[in-house]
Subunit: 204 residues, 2 copies
């Protein structure tokens, strides 16, 4: 049995972008199965008393993050054009709900990559249903059906439950990689998390 890794991400999270764009290839090379777990950081941040991203709450850290992201994306050959200031973080609730639909229907990973590419590669607002519809289409889903299903009570409750599970696990940022209870936080820990999972292959 292949070892597993849970990839927890928020569609509004900058460092989740390079993780989403590179995790499939890295995991394949490491022989690790990945489960994509969209969730919302907002409620977790609010529980710490933050009404917005810590990158806005702490400006020095925010300035650093934007420059760090530029360097990371340059190094990976990923476009990084997050658009004019003031739009960060984007509202990611609908994007996450549609993602949950897509992950059930088999087009969720391609959709997630399309959403991140639109958001951070082209500066699009992922709170806009049209941006999400285009991402669903690119991924091979039915945009109209997906967006309708995303706002049904079942999917809304599912996203709340996922976010509550993230809080229970002790998540405080994204991306976070969980390997049988072992937490790895940040894009810069992706390779360590994959190595951890691969080292434990067969021992679980």
């Amino acid at each position: 049995m292949r070892p597993g890794l849970d990839f927890w991400f928020d569609f509004a999270s900058t460092y989740s972008y390079p993780a989403a764009m590179t995790i499939a290839g890295r995991a394949e090379a490491a022989g690790v199965a990945v489960r994509w777990r969209p969730f919302l950081l907002g409620p977790i941040f609010r529980a710490q008393g933050w009404e917005t991203s810590p990158f806005n709450v702490f400006p020095a850290k925010g300035r650093y993050m934007w420059r760090d992201m530029e360097r990371i994306c340059d190094g990976l050959g990923l476009p990084f054009r997050p658009g004019p200031g003031g739009g960060f973080p984007r509202h990611s609730v609908l994007a996450a709900r549609v993602g949950l639909v897509g992950l059930r229907e088999g087009w969720g990973e391609d959709y997630a990559r399309a959403v991140f590419a639109a958001e951070f590669g082209e500066g699009r607002d992922i709170a806009d249903p049209e941006v999400l519809a285009a991402s669903v289409a690119v991924a091979g889903g039915n945009p109209e059906a997906a967006l309708a299903r995303a706002t049904q009570p079942e999917i809304k409750a599912r996203l709340r439950a996922e976010t509550e599970e993230a809080a229970t696990l002790g998540l405080f940022g994204a991306p976070t990689f969980m390997v049988s209870g072992e937490m790895f936080w940040g894009f810069d820990r992706l390779d360590a998390a994959l190595a951890w999972a691969a080292d434990r292959q067969g021992s679980a």
Copy 2:
């Protein structure tokens, strides 16, 4: 001329420990000259409204940090026995002042490694002048003279000026590596910072 990197660290900072223990060898391999810059995070944290380390202010992040440090030190073969809880962060003012003396007198880097090893490898309290005196001796300095000089107005003012420079540069954590205005934060960015410096060799 060799490209330079400023290694900003606080003696109380956990992630500064693996940086301090490994930077010399990595920098030598990369052909990069390192300037050791002890400073104090306390005033920078207080300016953000934190009376202690963010790892204490935000417990989920703190729990993660201790586990992450265990894994990092395991991977590097560094002992990690930070001692009983409640002692973090240690008061690092005197350690930093003695460090400034040592960096002027030529034994500062060995002293810094000895202090970090005592603190995080053996769980010693680096606010204790005897721990610092032993580290000075290990590094080849004169403990009595060094500790006396460390509390002279000139060195006290020097540490204040260093800390003010760190704040002006926008530092918000440690370790931070600066390469001609380019900031790299965290032990996990050490290799990227060295590569950045090496790539710009001769172009500065």
